[in-house]
């Protein structure tokens, strides 16, 4: 039974020690500890939320990138197509130009050649005429070196020319 009767001295000291401990710890231990824990929990919560947000943003960004990439690809193809078109056009033009030039050159050449030909022919003609004259002269001169020949010729002429 003795065990069940609280000793006033111990009650006194326990009350003092415990209440002092409650006061001390509330002020110097629990307050900073609980505050820090709360702050940490809040910051963890926030960090998690931020991570979620970042993930969503990342997803959006990725989708955007995909879209941009598709667009860029299309643009590139368009550019390539345009470029090849332009290139073929330039080629065609160049080809046509070259053809025209060459044609003109050919024509010019033909004209030139014709002119040359004509002049050469004229030359040849005059030369031939001269030569013929010279040859004829020489021949005549040769043929008519003696009087007999001259007489024969005159006879010939006279023979041909009928005075009728």
């Amino acid at each position: 039974m003795e065990l069940l009767i609280p000793n006033p001295g111990l009650v006194f000291w326990t009350s003092i020690a415990f209440l002092l401990l409650v006061f001390l710890l509330s002020k110097f231990a629990w307050k900073p500890i609980l505050q820090t824990l709360k702050i940490r929990e809040e910051s963890i919560e926030e960090a998690l939320k931020a991570a979620e947000l970042a993930r969503e943003e990342m997803g959006d960004l990725k989708a955007d990138n995909e879209k941009l990439l598709v667009k860029a690809r299309e643009e590139r193809e368009q550019l390539l197509r345009d470029a090849s078109k332009a290139a073929s056009m330039i080629k065609e033009d160049a080809k046509a130009d070259a053809e025209a030039i060459s044609k003109r050159m050919m024509e010019d050449a033909k004209v030139g050649i014709e002119a040359e030909k004509q002049s050469a022919l004229a030359e040849v003609r005059s030369q031939v005429a001269n030569l013929s004259v010279e040859i004829a002269e020489k021949i005549i001169r040769k043929n008519l070196e003696n009087d007999k020949a001259q007489k024969a010729l005159v006879d010939e002429f006279l023979k041909d020319k009928s005075f009728n």
């Binding site: 111990l10 006194f12 002092l20 401990l21 231990a29 500890i33």
Partner: protein, 353 residues
């Protein structure tokens, strides 16, 4: 080869340790019995009762004991002296305020003791073994938690380290599993510091009580004065934080016929007291009971003085000690849980009608 040899040596060493561990209590029992057999026979119940109760000196080892200060409020005012004289010489201490005698750890005025068997007693505020233990736990708890708080201040919200990481989960457990569910998120903050202190105060005192050598081994948390104080505080906090709905439920129970309300009122009122009473008895009985079981088992070695009994009892004693470690935490948990529950009932909003 060398490692195998090392291993073998290690096993042998462990084996020797186990043998020593089992034999040691018997050896000590034999040694002390040969010492004591000339004076008096070993009496387990006396030893256990002596241990369970408070003393005015702190027994350390064999004949070695630490005298503790005696503080008395006498008819002539405050009287302070050391307790050594009570245990040596003729057991009477005389100061200029009077002379005193110690009988079964109660201090009486020397002259009046024994005359009619009902001697006058001065008020005893001595630093007894339990008070010494109380101060020790006070120093320990304040050092531990104030230094942890310092770490929190210094390291901010960084991850806990060292002692911080040991206590942090316990603090969070008390907050999130004991206090908040019972009192409610809104009002928990007001009572949390008290309940945290209560939990660690009971737990650490229970643990100090389990340390089998100086300066542990006192039975402070198994002392009725200790549990009485804590349950009275719980009672007072509950009554002073109670709202109108709580009082209405005690004295004028809504929802029952009026005659029944008259019957219920005294029952409910007694209930407020019996809750605190149960808290007091539960902690006292569990912790004292644990001490009694451990000491009874140890006493068996001293009674039988046999290696067989020693070999059987010692592992069992170890098992009980481990169990007591659990009980130490569980009782702190139960006391804190019930206190939170009672506070929660007292501050609950009247919303179920």
């Amino acid at each position: 080869m060398a490692s195998l040899f090392e291993k073998g040596r290690k096993i042998l060493k462990n084996l020797a340790g186990i043998v020593f561990f089992i034999a040691a209590p018997v050896l000590i029992a034999n040694a002390s019995s040969s010492e004591e057999s000339s004076d008096k026979k070993f009496s387990p119940s006396e030893m256990i009762l002596h241990h369970i109760q408070d003393t005015h000196e702190f027994h350390i080892w064999g004949e070695l004991a630490m005298p503790l200060p005696i503080i008395l409020w006498t008819e002539h005012g405050l009287d302070v002296f050391m307790s050594g004289g009570f245990y040596h010489g003729n057991g009477t201490i005389t100061t200029d305020k009077g002379s005193y005698i110690l009988d079964h750890e109660h201090i009486y005025y020397a002259g009046e003791h024994g005359n009619d068997g009902h001697a006058a007693k001065p008020l005893d505020f001595s630093i007894t073994r339990n008070v010494f233990s109380l101060f020790l736990s006070f120093a320990l708890i304040s050092w531990v938690f104030i230094s942890i708080a310092g770490k929190y201040k210094k390291r901010g919200t960084a991850a806990p380290k060292g002692m911080q990481s040991f206590f942090e989960p316990i603090i969070i457990y008390v907050r999130d599993e004991i206090v908040v569910p019972n009192i409610g998120e809104k009002k928990a903050g007001k009572y949390l510091p008290y309940l945290l202190t209560l939990f660690f105060f009971i737990w650490i005192n229970n643990m100090i009580g389990l340390v089998p050598f100086f300066p542990g081994g006192s039975n402070l948390s198994g002392n009725i004065a200790f549990t009485f104080t804590l349950s009275i505080l719980t009672f007072l906090i509950v009554q002073f934080s109670a709202n109108k709905a709580y009082w209405k439920h005690i004295f004028w129970m809504p929802g029952v016929p009026i005659p029944v309300r008259f019957i219920l009122a005294p029952i409910e009122f007694l209930g407020t007291l019996s809750k605190a009473f149960a808290l007091m008895i539960r902690l006292f009985a569990n912790i004292s009971g644990g001490h009694i079981v451990v000491l009874s088992l140890a006493s068996m070695i001293f009674i039988f003085k046999s290696y067989v009994v020693g070999g059987v009892v010692t592992p069992f004693l170890l098992f009980i000690m481990v169990l007591e470690l659990m009980v130490a935490a569980i009782q702190a948990y139960v006391f804190t849980l019930l206190t939170s529950l009672f506070i929660g009932m007292a501050v609950a909003e009247d919303d179920h009608h």
